[in-house]
Amino acid sequence: MRRSQSVGQRIDWTTVGIVAVMMILGWLNISSATAGASPVDWLDLGSKQGKQLIWILICSGLAVVILNIEGEFFIRTSILHYVINVVLLLTVLIIGKKVGGARSWFGFGNISIQPSEFAKPSAALLLAWLLSRGDGKLRDLKTLVQSIAIVGIPAALTLLQPDAGTTLVFGGLIFALYREGLSGNVLIAGFCALLVTIASILTGAAIIDYPWIGEQSAIGLLWLILVAFCLMFWQLIPNIVVPRNRRRVRNTTWISLVAAMLLSAGMHTGLEQLPRHQRERVQVLFGIDVSNPDADYNIRHAKAAIGSGGLSGKGFLNGPMTAYGFVPEQETDFIFCTVGEEWGFLGSAFVIVLFTVLLFRILAIAERQRSDFTRVYAYGVVSILFMHYLINIGMVLGLAPVIGIPLPFFSAGGSSLMGFTLLVFILLRLDAERVSVLR
């Protein structure tokens, strides 16, 4: 029951503009990173910057096509869309080609396609479909389990590739679930888990000489502190909690304690199980000396490139670290280094602001919907873009471990650009129909 007139006038041109600016800036930086020392050959379509230009044109065409497809189509095909992508994720595990130790790509001659980039919008679509059915709210357990399955299946499949970055992105859909009613404690617990994780990594690497026991990992000390902290809190409960809640708080406390101890032990042993280079990346992040000078090579050079940009940068095409290959993967995952070196603080801060504005714009779009489907989908879009932004920039700035994941609309690569185009422009089409949707 939709009216379909004047859809074109209702397209959110602000978002379209921001995305276009990002693509152009990304392309300029890719050009600089690709050209190296030689002058840029703008018309060389064989180079990475030339290919990116072709992808931008293709994606522009794709955007136009999407904007002309009825929103109903995406709602109705969301299950199909999801199933196809899960099948592709399964297939890639078997016949995908191995790049950098991960089986994430289908290779067709010169072109490689990364199915996980398309799985992200499809997971968001199916989640939106599930949560907008009837009064299917997260309060009932069945819907919660279904939601977790929708997110968990592609997350697990990408972890098997292994592509931890993409797994984390799927995990980011927790923000969408939170908006739809998932307990806030999950976010708080997630945050606490993060703290405990960091603490266990820091303490796990240290060896202390305990009285009577001798030299052991410092993780025991962490546990002692956790236990002591909980005992203190236990004593304080009668003073700060009203009687009817005391029992619940006590339960939460001891469950949290056990969970935290298990989590820290798990993180500690989990870290030991990681391949050496990944373990070192995590340890380097926390300033743990791994006695391997090449362990922090990427991040050291990334920070140096950004740091050398200063206030206004070395100028477009003028960054020596960009030109002479100091930063690895600089047209893809480390593209922000080129921004930092050549455009300086002003340029990098502008990109940060651009992403922040885009994310807030989509939040605003989400909240103006009458359709539950569009709102949930919009939150999915926010979650996915936010996770990419968070992990990529965090990694380049040395605030997160090195996890290979593209910066939306900036990093070179056809699959990711197409995936993000689908993600955003499906939303823009759905949004354009917001007034014609009858609840």
Binding site: A37, F175, Y178, R179, E180, G181, G184, L187, R300, H301, K303, A304, A305, I306, G307, S308, G309, G310, L311, P320, M321, A323, Y324, G325, F326, G340, G344, F345, S348, A349, I352, V353, F355, T356, L359, F360, L363, A366, E367, Y379, V382, F386, Y389, L390, I393, G394, L397, G398, L399
Partner: protein
Amino acid sequence: MNLKERQWVIGGIILLMSVIFIGRLFQLQLGPSAWKDYAARITEEREIIDPARGMILDRNGQIFLTNVPSYDLLFTPRQARLAGGLDTMALSQTIRLDTSKLIAALAKADAYASYRPSPILKQITNHDYAQISGEIWRFPGLQSKRRSIRTNEGGLASHLLGEYRETDREDLNSGQGYRLGDYKGKSGLELEFEMRLRGKRGIKYHIVDVRNDFREPLANGQFDSLPTSGENVTTTLDMDLQAYGERLMGNKRGAIVALDPKTGEVLALVSAPSYSTDFLTGKNRGAHYTELLQDPSKPLFNRAMRATYRPGSIFKMIQGLIALDEGVISTDSRIVCNRDILGCHGAHSMDNLEQAIVHSCNPYFHEVMKRMVQGGRADNIFQDASEGLALWSPRIKKFGIGTDLGGHLSGLRSGSVPDTTLYNRMYGKKRWAYSTIYSISIGEGELLTTPVHMANLAAIMANRGWFVTPHTILDIGGNGKPPSLDSLVETGVDPTAFNPIIQAMAAVVASSEGTGTKARVPGITVCGKTGTVQDGERATHSVFMAFAPKENPRIALSVYVENAGSGGDWAAPIASLMMEQFLTGSVSQTDKEEHILRSTYPFPEH
């Protein structure tokens, strides 16, 4: 909480992260510049451009020391690792370096810096490099650097020119801007004029790529500086004379020093046996140095300036001059050749000064010195001798003996002239008289001189009483001779006193009964004096000092041939050949030349 309000939680998280990112950017890009410095360190590289070192030339502009290209082989461990390793066996064969040595050199380079080139083989000659240059590219991480090495093509005057070699720890800490691997003058003129010869190095700043290859100039070269070549040092040596002297002294031990008597300029400074400075440059320096050090003939020892010998009979001339000046004899005084105390040679009985010098009469000069030292100034003979010697010693020193001759020849030993202090120490105060010390009257005993002092003595004779302090520098960097070198020293002896001495020196060579007849030079009047100096059990040193031509002296020289026999047999003909070479530019006495060139140490018994 209303679910709609949860948008603010999510928005807050996004905003918080963005603020953290901007703060981090602020810290990295606008904060303390540690990362900026790090970026500069890895992207910028300083290239030192070594200046051409100044040449060392002879007085006519012929080259003693110049620079020729050589090559160092450098290795960057990281490049080799990135390229999958280095085939050390093949490399070892290509550059003809022992595998174990190569592996040690590679390990050292790795320990020093993995991303910077370190030398693994130094100073490959142009010729050797030509053979391997085509192969080097096959080995990842290997590159060559051109540098120049010092070359002494004639292999001449090595003792004077000195060594140019790699700086040691002391030089690096000297604050004179030497870097590890730099070369500098370590002895001789190379050391003395290091600051003038070395020039000023240029610096070029480059932007390098991740493989540390130069890619483009930094800031369009605005911080770069060009090298300034070192100044040339022109010596007073005559290369042809020097070369001839070294040739004559081949396979012998001894020294030749030739001076221009009017200017004090050293024309030749030969110490035999010699070596070429080139022998001590290049990759085998260590082995060569040990070889020279252990050679029993001591080739590293600069006999011309560092060896001290007793002056022997030559000293008699100074005795005569001072005696004349003191008035204890006149030119006509005749003294009996009483051979009780000192023996003599030849048939003569009552010589005057001139004859005594020609005959080298020992008793004559014993008596002459006795008159000066034991002159009856005091009743006590010990007191008398002490007072007499106190007057005598300073007059001898005026002839340069026992002094550094103005100090323009670095490394020159002073020799010694005995004085009362010395004898008081040796025998005790008032425990010695002339009868104790008379052997110095004929140039033996405690007298010591170097070949340079003896050549200077010849110059004093030629100039009739004065000398210019001997020196070896004619010009530095086109600025002319430093004026301090032209200092004139008077001996304080009346020029007329030299007449009989010079007559005698001419007779020593010209007279048929003279001891120095082999010093004759066709068409030129030579003045000379032989010396035959005791050396313990071994054969005597053969010594000759001379100047020529008599009328207008242009060369004064001394010749020492160790353990060769009498002065007239070996040193005199060598002096003759040297003088002819210098004065006429060629040598006509081919028999004499051939005889000298054929003779080698040790010399046959006569």
